[in-house]
């Protein structure tokens, strides 16, 4: 196996203001499957092309935004290694015992990033009750619902001290920098796109004055046809659209941005190139970011960079 260490982003816990509306949005419209409820009333979800117990958790709260993002690692031994490396790097962390607040998940290493976000690392997760087929499999375990998102793919996080967080991602998590956008001074970095394997990004981190903010969570679709169908579903159900359907210059992905009923931004995303660790970094000047994000109009909409939860 050539992909080692940190394997991929695989868990996100979001805060929502109205649980019924959130479940309808993620289950009926995005097409995620309901896994169950935790003892404290959080709702666990998964996408059809994932094997792990769940990838997404909704928590009823009086603010929107994210509680934590999780990454799967190759083994318990690597989790121990990551704990030592995190300690040496100097970020605060704690160990969360198996099968506690995330049912089905093994022991986790929960690290507080200097951007105000929490990354949880875990090596073992129980297999979901319904997974893609393994023996003479059909293409889907069952006909997908709604947009039919196949997996939780990535997130864009906003916070201060992003350079230090990126240093943790590259030096400790051994992520690759895929693309980078600069501030107007041409030296300091506005945003960094990072990956642990072949995806164009598992996470992107943008420099921002307020800590712990979420710009969007990204879900995977297959191609333009599925992006078009997602756009239909957004209009039919009067879901708040942010931008798209369109394409990114950054990563070359095809995309739509829209909001869940609590104002958390979602993205459905298809395509983009495959990353390999020998690739050089693609870079964007500040005055070209419009083209980098909204490739066809080449201009950001007013709300895109500044609306976060």
């Amino acid at each position: 196996m050539a992909i080692t260490g940190v394997l991929r982003s695989g868990l996100m816990q979001l805060r929502v203001l109205d649980m019924d509306a959130a479940v309808k949005h993620y289950v009926d419209y995005l097409g995620m499957d309901l896994v169950g409820k935790t003892d404290d009333g959080r709702v666990m979800l998964k996408c059809w092309d994932e094997f792990d117990h769940h990838c997404f958790v909704l928590r009823l709260a009086d603010t929107a935004g994210m509680d934590l993002m999780g990454f799967k690692v190759e083994s318990d031994a690597y989790l121990d290694h990551l704990e030592r490396e995190t300690k040496a790097f100097g970020l605060p962390y704690k160990i969360i015992p198996a099968n506690t607040d995330q049912p089905g998940f093994g022991r986790r290493l929960a690290v507080d990033l200097p951007t105000g976000h929490r990354f949880d690392f875990y090596a073992n997760v129980e297999m979901a009750a319904e997974t893609p087929g393994l023996k003479n499999p059909d293409i889907y375990p069952k006909t997908p619902r709604g947009m039919g998102v196949s997996c939780f793919d990535h997130a864009l996080l906003y916070g201060p001290n992003s350079a230090e967080a990126v240093r943790y991602c590259t030096q400790v998590m051994k992520m690759g920098v895929v693309e980078r956008a600069y501030l107007p001074d041409g030296e300091n970095v506005l945003c960094t796109w990072l990956t642990s394997a072949n995806r164009t990004h598992d996470v992107a981190i943008l420099e921002y004055d307020k800590p712990g903010k979420l710009h969007h969570v990204g879900f995977k679709l297959e191609d333009w046809t599925e992006i078009g169908k997602a756009a239909d579903i957004i209009s039919i159900n009067d879901i708040a659209l942010d931008a798209g359907p369109m394409r990114h210059g950054v990563t070359r992905g095809k995309t739509i941005y829209f909001f869940d009923p609590s104002g958390n931004r979602d993205e459905v995303y298809a395509g983009g190139y495959a990353y390999y660790p020998d690739m050089p970094v693609r870079e964007w000047d500040f005055d070209q970011i419009g083209k980098g994000i909204f490739y066809y109009t080449r201009e950001l909409n007013d709300a895109f960079l500044s609306v976060v939860t």
């Binding site: 203001l17 709300a303 609306v307």
Partner: protein, 100 residues
């Protein structure tokens, strides 16, 4: 049955438009082109569309406490994306520096 429509005024902007009882104030503000700077998440989460209700009856949906406190709500400060009119309204854009 057709939804009722109510007149909405933002005297500070000289804007007058109509809002249906089944759509949020922010939807009507967007349609009228009255205040493009308020356009945000439409879900009560991002805090961008803060307005002060000067006059009129409304019902509201859930809004993030990171942006609207209980004291704000009592003072008629809301997120326009979570406000539904139940009569003619007068609004002001929320300007923190005017709070004193």
């Amino acid at each position: 049955m057709t939804a009722r429509r109510y007149k909405v005024e933002i005297p500070g902007l000289g804007a007058v438009f109509f809002c249906r009882e089944d759509e949020s104030l922010l939807h009507a503000i967007r349609r009228a082109g009255a205040a493009p700077g308020l356009i945000g998440c439409f879900g009560g989460g991002c805090g961008r569309c803060k307005v002060r209700l000067l006059q009129g009856q409304v019902v509201t949906g859930p809004m993030s406490r990171a942006h609207i406190s209980e004291a704000d709500e009592a003072a008629g400060i809301f997120l326009a994306c979570r406000v539904y009119p139940r009569g003619p309204l007068q609004l002001a854009l929320y300007l923190p520096q005017a709070e004193g």
